[in-house]
Subunit: 375 residues, 2 copies
């Protein structure tokens, strides 16, 4: 259920800053905080990120702000990482209350205000990162997603992509679809809904609670991201099996949500600067994840004795069929979600044919047993 | 063999402008052409592109220049498309002569001055676009390529990617590796060298000569790019079979080559602006190709009766083995080529493992026979 958009932002912002966030902001920041109207052509934005400062994504949002701050004499962005100003998952709320002008996160983090934005983030058996970017920039995707984001008062821009995620960490092997029945698993979002339909008990846990829950047996399994992030989270300490591939999040768009009121005040050149910088950071984040995953993956296997498992084709085929049904059903309950879902699956059916004759067949052929130099 | 870098650029530039290029430049442009030293902090660059104005890549280089021109008060870039100022494949020569400050093309266009740059553009059975970007930005790739580009006087930046290309247009079916013996095929670069080793007669033809040569039987086959570009080139009119996938160019980096002398004169903020814009355009070009290929592919099959063929696995395996041998051998003849080749294949052996458990297996699973909504 979407909250109503606030339009008395100055008041809202000031009352928010006197509240929980004021201490974190610090006196200097508060005193320099501008009225939302442009003062001398110079605006200051606060960006609230749902990710930790030290993470790959924390560094990405810092770079984005830095690109703008270095180029623009009209806009300055100050980043607050997860829990520095507001709790991670309240980053969009901070924008909607007027306390911040930009949020960094992922569409499935905002389900408290929109049933639709999660569809553009990731869909089980949906688009790959390359396909998502084609959809966003040349498939009408940004415009389609913006209908959902505008409805909650913000402008959407893609600002990074995880690429294909891993299937998750399991303490039980999955050899048939029935093995999901009764499984206690942390899997948020649409993927979790698919497993629920097979009798899994899906739970939501914040990042820091996942490892203890897995270690204590409170959960049997969890999905996270991919080797680099999963190694850092230490999940190998509490789970035997590492499953590939990530059917529930074939790729996930990280999103930048900008207060519509602030976006519309910008001149064309500043909007273009933001758009260009967002494309650059989108490219950087995906490239960064791809470049570092293998070395972490090797460490997990060779130093931590992790056992790789792949979901059998029979299970994947069942999951694919069920994913289409479950996700369609969820979309059908909300007109904005239905519109966005239809736009994505329409594009999917087209680009899937092209990827099927190109990338898919090339990757298959490249794994034939021929020798190839490695140095 | 690399030409010596010119250092008397003002003289070179002026003498060039009085020559063949002057008419194309036009009086207004020539009169406003600055001395290469910074005049009042404002510089004007000429970018020579190897691609046609109306092509997807012609529009991409226009956008790149526009991004810089809109943001910078220190640098203005004017684009000349293929043959507007110099012939397409002399774009880098124009930079090296001092007549232009930037060239847009692909590393295998510059084999008249470097044996090395072609390796970063594309390698048979090498990296996908996603992997190339990971290599460039977080795998030390730009620095490794820059050793080759700096040696010919320019700074390298990736400025787009074709993604996986198609295998090419054939009037003979390929069912065994022996079928390449005696085949007359247009396939430039390293892929062509692989086919030569099987007795193919590879020829180089400019774009406009390809269709007539195929129609007359002067060649039996040609590679080009992918469905969108190939449809535009009309190649379906003269070839029966359209082969997938593109093993010879699994993906191709389009490159921006900036005069080192001009690059080093820029302040840090302008260099960052160029770098950010180049990443954005890199993202745009790949996304654009991916978004439009399927509709062209469907037209080729459904409206023009093109017959799709896939190279058999036995042929692909032989080509993969031979590609490694042939490309290694070519690299070994030039120290710069060897260094760049080693850097790429070292990265390839790592990221191939990660892509192998993620993207490759996901794409395979997604093509299992389950039903999925399409609208």
């Amino acid at each position: 259920m979407a909250k109503k958009i606030k339009n008395n932002k100055p008041m809202k912002r000031r009352s928010f800053l006197k509240g929980a966030g004021a201490a974190a902001l610090g006196a200097a920041t508060v005193s320099s905080f501008p009225a939302p109207a442009i003062s001398g052509g110079h605006m200051e934005w606060i960006a609230c990120s749902a990710f930790g400062k030290a993470s790959l994504l924390g560094k990405a949002i810092e770079r984005f702000a830095s690109y703008i701050n270095n180029q623009s004499d009209k806009l300055k962005i100050t980043v607050y990482h997860a829990n520095e100003l507001v709790p991670a998952l309240e980053s969009l709320d901070a924008v909607r209350s007027g306390a911040a002008q930009m949020a960094y996160g992922a569409g499935y983090y905002w389900t408290n205000v929109s049933n639709a934005t999660q569809f553009s983030a990731a869909m089980p058996f949906g688009l790959t990162a390359q396909e998502q970017n084609a959809w966003c920039y040349y498939g009408g995707g940004i415009e389609a997603a913006d209908k959902a984001y505008n409805a909650i008062g913000v402008k959407f821009l893609p600002l990074g992509n995880t690429g294909n995620q891993m299937g998750g960490w399991y303490n039980k092997e999955i050899t048939a679809i029935e093995d999901f029945n009764g499984l206690k698993i942390r899997m948020p979002g649409l993927g979790g809904e698919v497993l629920k339909s097979y009798g899994a008990n899906t739970v939501l846990l914040a990042g820091s609670d996942v490892l203890p829950a897995l270690a204590s047996g409170a959960i049997d399994a969890t999905e996270w991201i991919g080797p680099a992030a999963d190694l850092g989270a230490g999940l190998y300490q509490a789970a035997k099996y590492y499953y590939n591939p990530g059917w529930h999040e074939p790729a996930t768009i990280l999103d930048c949500s900008i207060d519509m009121f602030e976006w519309e005040k910008l001149d064309d050149a500043t909007r273009e600067m933001i758009t260009v910088a967002s494309k650059a950071v989108n490219m950087e984040v995906l490239s960064h994840f791809q470049a570092v995953n293998d070395s972490s993956y090797q460490k997990l296997i060779n130093e931590h004795g992790v056992q790789m498992r792949q979901l059998p084709d029979s299970v994947m085929n069942d999951l694919g069929q069920r994913a289409g049904e479950v996700v369609s059903d969820i979309a059908s309950k909300d007109p904005e979600a239905q519109a966005l879902f239809s736009h994505i699956v329409n594009f999917r059916s087209s680009i899937l044919r092209w990827t099927g004759v190109s990338e898919k067949e090339y990757l298959r052929a490249r794994s034939l047993p021929f020798a190839y130099p490695s140095a």
